[in-house]
Symmetry: C2
Subunit: 427 residues, 2 copies
């Protein structure tokens, strides 16, 4: 298709009719496609089917303790060692949790609200109006946690090297009410960006007005590569240590998108003071996490080599879906000037921006009317508001390949139609 | 042995030497026995060994959804139905959690601190100095939660029909800073008392100065009978409803001591307003509990009949241990006037009171020196302080039968020695 910018009003009007007619054809197919969430597909889950009958008779930990009974507040030593490998740290810096790293993040911030954190001045809840930085587009569930806990959410643009670090440095140096930042540092949700060395170093080293500033480092996609070339990410914990900010980063990971999302194992890594502080509260909150589920995972994924082999099988399943998204978007949108989009080397999402502001919501409404649901427009932004209304998150892992091709064709048509209408309105 | 009260000083002095010599004989055996916690023994855990290879290929819920993937905030409908049976309510009044009812209780109180509860006036944390009632002796981990969250713990005596209800009525009517009470209403930890109908009705109906008073109703031993005659417990939820206090009770249960303690399934029951309030926060805290573990439990314990049959097997394993405790205590202490103790019809504990105040700590120190550990003296009381220093909690389920016989012989000797020394000091 011709570049929309080269079209006069008559051509745009013709184009609108043509696109609307095309969309009507799709609508006539009674589509019911769901591209809303980053869920693994059944073929990915099948890769972990050995978990379903584990641990069998092997219910003892390496130290001989019976994993069927109470005990073990912060995880089995061998599970801690496994997460230490994933997160490039030592086992004593790890707390193993339940089935959700999101819950561990929520709980970490709840502890800060109720009790305060090392280097801080008591409960955050007693310190008035607090703020949290939200690189955007980002992960809606992160933002929801801090919104729910009463923080003001401060958006910061996601750039191609990570979040806008000069802007962050400026904000945190000036405002002690800013207590933290959400980061998905590798294959970011949804842009697929991995933070560059420079960004990671500056996050670790930047002066902050708050003495107890926290980086919520959600390394959700540490081993979730789509290509043979894995993005490299600097380890933030030693960088914070070296910069004299040893308590700054809380690092999270889970097996949710390695094994089974509802029944995985999550972990937090941090420096000894943060770990000791968390354990002091955890010892009151719980008698300990499910150790049998840890044993199951140790049987399936005993070390980083096996995890990497396992994740290559995941990539074999989902890479063709990401390729289909790229293929259809290029075919439908190249040369139109209607949108740009990411081509991630890992993670779970493709992020599309319409070229013109004010088009994403309309495009997704059109898609929904055509039977194709995407993540709600604005969801990856604080308060669900995309200030430019142009971002669309595409989650290609769950649907079947043929569904994705159709869904992305519909999406491309809707994007074109929304942009054309926007330009006609602007005429 | 003769009643200690009938002994003169010389006889007591002889008795002291005799008991000390007997204890020295035990000490020479290099005992290392642990009666500290209410943990199931391996033979009990073996009853649930089918869980270890479940759910196998049966990873779909009754509605056909794939339990390996994300979703299901408050539990599978069939798990909710199972807990509804256990707790005599409807499935819509149930939230299924992770592996720990203790964590659900902690989280419920954390939500009250941060956000407040229905019928209340906002976050409890913003309402100054608050208090919580602690029927004592009671469960140390309950008291620890409220102590950790900053409540002042108000002890209330446990009587033979439940906690001292006239005293409770008086306290809660007068003091709006009292926001709740901990209850283990059936086979209480550690006294084994089940609350009478009258006590349950009065707890539900009593006027409270606080509009948002909460009963933390930990029905941990709902089906944990030791004899063929199960204690009956009134259902507190409809009683609260009828009394116009529909939001008063939060009810908890788990399979921890039915299946595997580290890897069980927990649940909360409450009226619709409390359930809706909890879900509003849970939707931020988690994507949902481990549904595969729910499926495992549904395979092992599909309904209340199967649970009851399963719990009879548990009783077969542990009843002889409780019997041994009674046998040895009667043999060693009958007629001495040194102590009284409970003979529970269910639950996990025997509670012993020395006749004289100020003897429990010394008796347990002597036992520890002899190689037999019990729950620390005072642990079942707020702040770990038994005001009369006379209560000893005995947890007979975990050790082997022969160990229990030895441990209780040692304990009886220590109790006698402590009481004799106390009386000699008082001479």
């Amino acid at each position: 298709m011709q570049n929309l910018s080269a079209m006069d009003k008559n051509t745009l009007t013709e184009k609108e009719a043509e696109l609307a007619a095309r969309l009507a054809e799709f609508a006539a197919q009674n589509l019911n496609l769901d591209m809303t969430r980053g869920k693994p597909c059944p073929a990915q889950l099948d890769l972990s089917s050995n978990l379903l009958s584990a641990p069998g008779r092997h219910f003892k930990a390496a130290d001989g303790s019976d994993c069927r009974n109470y005990g073990g507040l912060d995880g089995l030593p061998e599970t801690k060692a496994l997460f230490a490998e994933i997160l490039e740290t030592a086992a004593e810096h790890i707390i193993v949790g339940g089935n959700s790293s999101l819950t561990m993040m929520y709980d970490a911030l709840v502890r800060a609200m109720l009790f305060g954190v090392p280097d801080g001045d008591g409960p955050w809840m007693r310190q008035g109006h607090l703020k949290f930085l939200c690189p955007s587009p980002g992960y809606d569930r992160h933002f929801a946690i801090t919104e729910h806990l009463g923080f003001e959410l401060i958006p910061v643009d996601m750039e191609e090297d990570g979040p806008d670090i000069p802007r962050i440095e400026e904000l945190v140096a000036a405002d002690a009410s800013i207590r933290g930042i959400w980061c998905v540092p590798k294959y970011s949700n949804p842009t697929g960006v991995s933070y560059t060395d420079s960004v990671v170093k500056r996050l670790a080293a930047m002066p902050t007005a708050a003495s107890d500033f926290r980086i919520m480092w959600d390394n959700a996609y540490a081993e979730h590569h789509l290509t043979g070339e894995a993005d490299a990410l600097l380890n933030i914990l030693p960088l914070c240590q070296r910069a004299g900010h040893e308590n700054r980063a809380l690092v999270f990971a889970s097996t949710s998108k390695m094994s089974l999302p509802g029944a995985g194992v999550a972990a937090m890594a941090a420096n000894p003071e943060n770990i000791a502080d968390a354990k002091r509260h955890l010892g009151i909150q719980t008698i300990g996490p499910d150790k049998l589920n840890q044993l199951r995972h140790l049987a399936l994924l005993p070390d980083l080599d096996r995890i990497r082999a396992h994740m290559r099988h995941h990539a074999e399943v989902i890479k063709p879906k990401f390729d289909a998204v790229q293929r259809v978007l290029h075919r439908e949108l190249d040369g139109t000037g209607a949108a740009t989009w990411t081509d991630p080397r890992g993670g779970y999402f493709v992020s599309l921006d319409t070229n013109d502001d004010g088009c994403a919501r309309e495009a997704l409404q059109l898609a929904a009317q055509t039977g194709v649901k995407f993540t709600a427009a604005g969801a990856p932004f604080p308060y669900g508001r995309d200030p430019r209304d142009r971002n669309i998150r595409i989650a290609p892992t769950f649907p079947a390949l043929t569904e994705i091709e159709t869904a992305i064709q519909v999406l491309a048509t809707c994007v074109l139609l929304a942009v054309v209408r926007q330009r006609l309105r602007a005429e």
